[in-house]
Assembly symmetry: C3
Homo-oligomer: 417 residues x 3
């Protein structure tokens, strides 16, 4: 029941020191959580899943954004649309969360029946003066960019999703996400604030000690280091990696695969970063041995050695490799609970047991997400203490965190805080 932005939250946002973690309440307070949902999750583009969740007309994916459930469906004209999952009669949820296939949308309460276009087709007992055309489902803005679906609950979504499209449509095209399928999905609830989940994802300072599985194929050096912290041996490895990266980048660019980093972060409503990364070891895929997990490659990919195309957003991270992709959606549940939904995608014609094995496919990120969930939980717990003082980020390894929080504060302030 809060109508106007809280001056207390505005003051907390202003009080944050550059290059430091946030004041505690911005992570832990329930009113700040409500404000985050209102501003970030209701007025910005939110990643809600891959397009292969709804490959055919009548396919539906129901996703909850806070207390608002949305229906994402492919209509009979092959258009992917989204609606609020709310009957216009008495407000009932039309469909439960998850994936299903339907002909029309029939409310379980009084059988009001909607076309896949959202139009009300049928409602009994409403009399002759009832105007069905005023009772269509309330639409939600939805856009597919290279097969990644973004929704925005606000009437006027940020226009700069076009920038994401311009950068990513071409990069994602070879991975053919519409022709992919979800080989596996895991929902994990982290016991921490969503901003801590994102901060955790924006650095690899913690990787070497925490993520043995991930570090087979993932090179933490790409995310910064203090040369003075490295042994002579590690410095030599770092230099070798830089040279290897430069060589790969030239090779991939020559093949037409964009490699260089694009950053669209603080200063923009829509937050994203992409880069094609060199993988370690066998260099094919984020698996236990860095070899591909799926024999059938994605989309029009013909090679396994084109690196890891990564993409970050303000509620997501993704890795696209030759054989499979991993997409992760971040959805806050409360100030101290965050849903992490991970989907592993392979070509829709890949056959489980023949082309891929689910355990092998999911091994690295299942382990990595569980490890990160623990780190996020201990960070959240510590930040709630009277002994917490905002801490300094490493300018070598945590610059992206400072950038993310700068973005966060800008976005909150742009909406009245």
């Amino acid at each position: 029941m809060h109508d106007s932005p809280s001056p207390r939250i505005a003051s907390l946002l202003r009080s944050r020191q550059p290059n430091h973690t946030l004041p505690a309440e911005l992570y832990t307070d329930a009113n700040v959580f409500d404000a985050d949902m209102e501003v970030i999750f209701h007025r910005h583009w939110i990643y809600v899943g891959p397009i292969c969740d709804v490959p055919e007309p009548g396919d539906v994916s129901v996703v909850d954004i806070g207390r608002s459930s949305i229906i994402i469906l492919r209509d009979d004209a092959d258009v992917v649309r989204a609606f609020f999952n709310v009957c216009r009669h008495r407000g009932a949820r039309l469909l439960p969360a998850g994936i299903s296939t339907i002909g029309r949308l029939v409310c379980p309460y009084h059988q009001w029946t909607y076309e896949l276009s959202g139009e009300l087709a049928h409602a009994m007992h409403m009399g002759k003066d009832f105007d069905a055309s005023c009772h269509s489902l309330v639409p939600v803005h939805l856009r597919s960019i290279g097969g990644l679906l973004y929704a925005c609950l606000a009437d006027r979504p940020p226009a700069d999703l076009d920038d994401l499209a311009e950068v990513m449509e071409a990069r994602l095209a070879p991975y053919g996400l519409r022709d992919a399928k979800v080989a596996h999905q895991v929902d994990l609830i982290e016991r921490g604030n969503w901003k801590l989940t994102i901060e955790n994802n924006r650095e690899c300072y913690h990787c070497s000690a925490t993520h043995p599985e991930l570090c087979v194929a993932f090179v933490d050096l790409d995310f910064g280091f203090d040369p003075a912290s490295l042994s002579a041996e590690d410095r030599a490895l770092a230099e070798a990696h830089e040279m290897r990266y430069a060589g790969k980048a030239r090779e991939w660019e020559a093949l037409g695969f964009e490699t260089k980093a694009v950053e669209h972060l603080a200063g923009h409503p829509t937050n994203f970063r992409t880069q094609r990364l060199v993988m370690g070891g066998a260099g094919e895929s984020q698996t236990a041995d860095a070899l591909a997990a799926c024999g059938r490659l994605l989309g029009s990919m013909t090679r396994k050695d084109l690196g890891d195309l990564h993409l970050w957003g303000h509620n997501a991270w993704h890795h696209f490799m030759g054989d499979h992709a991993v997409t992760t959606m971040v959805m806050p549940l409360s100030a101290s609970e965050t849903l992490i939904r991970t989907k592993w995608l392979v070509h829709k014609e890949a056959v489980e047991g023949a082309d891929y094995d689910v355990d092998r496919l999911t091994h690295v990120w299942k382990a990595t997400n569980e490890q990160d969930a623990h780190l996020v939980a201990i960070a959240h717990a510590g930040i709630g203490s009277r002994g917490y003082r905002p801490g300094t980020y490493s300018r070598f390894t945590e610059g992206q965190l400072d950038n993310f929080l700068t973005w966060y504060i800008q976005r909150m302030q742009a909406h009245g805080f």
Copy 2:
């Protein structure tokens, strides 16, 4: 810690459009829940159970109304009384929830001992200057109307419970509730606001698609329909039902059984509606085959074909049939959780296994309440969404909902909101 009615709630109440569902926060907000408890459940007459819960002196029924537990007991002078379930010494609950039999009320903490009249009989260590007569249990207004018990926690209860008595005493007398017993009780917690529970109960628009068990004996046509929505065949059925009802009404009235509807709804503090309804099929009882479930009839009833005497209140619904009665108490637990306590009553001399079978007796309303719990839950979930817009009621089938919300808003406004 709120002392005065919130202007925010008052503004929400004023903003409701006639013939529409409420603004979302009136269903979902925790402060509105507190206000509902304060106004509706603490200052109005609340149905708390049938008199056969306390048939003999010393019998006790403990019922929670929000955070206030009350003791309903029959004292040694055969008077049914109610007290707050709170020791006058250190505030301990004297008795746990549920049914029991006692001699005196002894506090488990320091053995302060009260008579069934509420007087403090004994308290150790309090010294000579301690005045026991100032430490009686705090009484709660309680009244039996035809064997239905109503409590009011306020000092000055609404006077118009007399209207309920005037209408219902005579109608309920033949059902002999004091000589009944509770054959079975089910507590069900619905995941929705209590007003959605009541709205659900006030229409049968949802019955045909949801309640196959109930619809054997319950005729949804009685609760309104749009003739234009019916097929020629269904319209013929409706006309036949109307004629059948008119015939039965004449027959029953001639026998001295009042049949016509009485409505005491918006405009009155105490909300109720009663009518004797014709049942479908075999027409005897709300069972799987519409035949009586109990061989021994209630009270002084001699016939099974006197229809279904229904009674609605603002926190209850009941059905009285020749062989048994079903009484339901609605008690809010939080903005999003509501207890539904259903008791099936038969004559106290009816013998389980011989005269009735519990599964057969309870089949219809156990199924119906579970089905309704799902509908209430999806309505509550949808109303919490940003996509919810208050919806229009059918003037044919949902007029009683509009009336109930009009009553609700009037009652809140009458108490300062």
Copy 3:
């Protein structure tokens, strides 16, 4: 997000009548709980465990005070220290709750490494301009009084802990708590406000009817009675007990064991009371038969018949006997939940199975705490009712409760309420 003391709470504190229980909201309201944590648990000395939790350098005990977890450790110079359990980098909890042994403190997130002195020894990737000396762990005031550890989270703790030291150092010395060990620990969560837990502990009016196990060795007469309430027989027993107490007191004082009561209650920031009590029956220990439970005596004790040295604090109660000690820490979890952590101490060289049996050692207080948990729960439940009225304390048996609430209100008012 509350910055200044609430006038509503101040008004409730002022409204309390002397010698009566508190207005309900001071027990049940979430904002009052926050204020209690802020004033009582963050700005006063809080009992956090016995020194034998950390007997050797590197031993650690992690205890949560509200949302603030603290690390209590013995450093390499044999000094017992405490720090907030919060890394100075990103705020992560360094250690989980409970007992462990460590070399240095290494943060699980990015391996920032602290000496047992709290100094930051090592942090990678922070660059040359990073000043480690500004990033020591934040210290928490900690003091051992006769082997009982007290922590204070505020910058300036109350000075009068010296009074506790002056009284208790000598009394506790013979019990040798540093040379004790924790034979058993039980955590119990009571469903009631922490002040009800303390009130329950400050009277024995409820003992005879509730605690058959405790009453073997514990003499409730010591905590007051109304002579008029006693039978002639019980009055004779009371007089006999008084004479026995006077005799024992002379005997013990002559042996150098201080016996008389010291009360440091309302009027002081640090609340405590101590007295050496005569035990009932065999008179040795709080066991099922009042005989010692451990063959090896504590510290330098040579006799089992020196009574029960009890000590109360605002979040603790303790009993020191010849053979063992029972220490109890009270820690609020919410307005309606309170952790009771009980530790049974024996000499560190006592051997389980030979010198003592855990079931026998813990029998009385395990039963007693569970019985009290039920009483606290029914008191809390009743106080939440509309029917609750603050009740009068017995001036014979409940004077300590009035004193405790007087202390509580003074402390809240001293901190701005």
